[in-house]
């Protein structure tokens, strides 16, 4: 039984320092003009919540590409409003892996509703207690497609830590029990094809598997 998605699902984009370093030249030009100074956030709204972990349908709006990002997901345990980073993890009891299936991003300038709001495109693994995972910045998320590892993202590589992000986000919006923050996506998302099997793991504690449906 996978953890149930509910409430607000907040994802953090551009939280991979290596991606920021690579794209710095682009982000200093129009339309961006400057690197982001605050977390870059988007929602996965409720039509995207794939509660039964059913196969991911190929979106009609995609020309020929669908990508997946895997992130560690913080599950908020109680109302969290304007907290300090040093107390931030008191508001998280459980963690899980979130898969975000989306269209590849051509630009970060405008909200990417078409790319991010695909029906049933967000899945969440079973959760594990924070205490079972140890220090977050020592973790890595490995994602494989059909058994071949495509990404191995170390959380030491994030621009902002979970604690810093909880502080920042909880000063924008009050978080409620069950809300989710997915904060550790590798900058480069992974291409998938029909019938692909996607599996992400964090050590031996968390794992999430999804199938991409068979027809385009």
């Amino acid at each position: 039984m996978n953890t149930i998605l509910q409430g607000k699902v907040v994802c953090v984009a551009l939280n991979d320092q290596q991606q920021i370093d690579t794209m710095k030249g682009l982000f200093e030009q129009a339309p961006y003009q400057a690197l982001p100074t605050e977390p870059v956030l988007y929602f996965k709204p409720h039509n995207t919540w794939n509660q039964g972990n059913s196969p991911i349908s190929w979106p009609e709006s995609s020309d020929d590409r669908l990508v997946v990002g895997a992130s560690l997901a913080l599950i908020i345990d109680k109302r969290c409003c304007r907290v300090n980073q040093h107390e931030a993890l008191n508001y998280v009891k459980e963690l899980a892996i979130l898969h975000d299936f989306s269209l590849p991003e051509q630009s970060y300038y405008r909200p990417d509703i078409k790319g991010k709001c695909i029906d049933q495109s967000a899945t969440l693994s079973e959760s594990a207690p924070l205490s079972a995972l140890g220090a977050l910045d020592k973790l890595a998320i490995s994602t494989s497609v059909n058994g071949i590892e495509k990404s191995n993202f170390k959380l030491s590589q994030t621009v902002r830590s979970a604690q810093q992000l909880i502080e920042k986000i909880s000063h924008i919006m009050t978080l409620e029990k069950g809300d989710i923050i997915a904060f550790a996506f590798a900058g480069e998302r992974i291409d998938v094809a029909p019938n692909d099997h996607v599996k992400s793991v964090v050590g031996s504690t968390l794992q999430l598997e999804n199938l991409v449906a068979g027809d385009k």
């Binding site: 984009a13 982001p36 100074t37 605050e38 409720h46 709006s61 304007r82 970060y108 509703i113 709001c117």
Partner: protein
């Protein structure tokens, strides 16, 4: 018919609003407005869509060319607050402005709906004030969540009016008054992408669900809002949504 939700004697209840403005419960009990606290008229709001630059005069006011495809962003449900309940102005900012908007409330699941049929998927309409904090704009997913997804910065209500009760959706007068002074005036006739178009557009790539809200953008007429101001957003055939604005400190102190 006008549908509202109120808190009365500590309970959230659904009511209708009769012609004299009294609140009528499902069992016919009448509650005076002064004995009720207004809640968001939608009990379980789903996805909150909002449109940027959807009035040509407003787009040019912000020095943008009108968009050729809808500029849609999402808001969290933490932003919603009822009629006559407070919003806040963050400390240390220079420019916060209201945006009076017509809101379509989705009534049934919609996927690949054509614009001719779109209004059959709408339960009714209400008003929101989609505040923006311009100091916090950055060119990433603009308008970013820090600008548009803050606690209480989207008053909504006072009630939902059923679609049949609105004469002509494409000709509704929109007005905002700040402390009694008229500061924004427009008409839904100047909307670039109208409600049927937006439902066709959104439902072409995602499923709309009952309780989803589409805030359709605001016309020209921006003004900075300060703590102590009272902002009144009116849309013809729907009603008037009024909210006070507190300082950040006072707002969170009383929460």
């Amino acid at each position: 018919m006008k549908h509202a939700r109120i808190e009365h004697l500590g309970q959230a209840i659904d009511v209708t609003v009769n012609d004299s403005g009294d609140l009528v419960t499902a069992t016919g009990e009448i509650i005076e407005q002064r004995n009720a606290k207004w809640l968001s008229p939608v009990a379980n709001p789903g996805t909150i869509f909002a449109l940027g630059l959807n009035y040509a005069d407003h787009a040019s006011e912000l020095a943008f060319a009108p968009p050729t495809e809808p500029l849609v962003f999402l808001k969290g449900n933490n932003t919603l607050t009822g009629h006559q309940t407070p919003s806040y102005r963050p400390d240390d900012i220079d420019f916060m402005h209201y945006e009076c908007e017509l809101v379509a409330v989705i009534g049934k699941e919609a996927r690949n709906v054509k614009r001719e049929d779109a209004l059959a998927y709408v339960h009714g309409f209400t008003i929101c004030n989609d505040y923006a904090i311009r100091d916090f704009l950055e060119n990433y997913y603009r308008p970013n969540l820090r600008v548009k997804s803050r606690d209480s910065l989207c008053p909504i209500g006072p009630w939902l009016v059923e679609t049949n009760d609105i004469k002509d959706l494409s000709k509704l007068k929109i007005q905002t008054h700040v402390n009694g002074e008229l500061t924004q005036e427009g008409s839904t006739s100047d909307m670039i992408f109208d409600v049927p178009f937006l439902i066709e557009y959104l439902s072409s790539f995602m499923t709309l669900k009952p309780g989803d809200l589409i805030a359709t953008g605001t016309p020209k007429g921006l003004k900075d809002i300060q703590p102590g101001d009272v902002v009144r957003c009116s849309i013809e055939s729907i009603g008037t949504l009024e909210n006070p604005v507190l300082s950040e400190h006072d707002f969170y102190a009383q929460r």
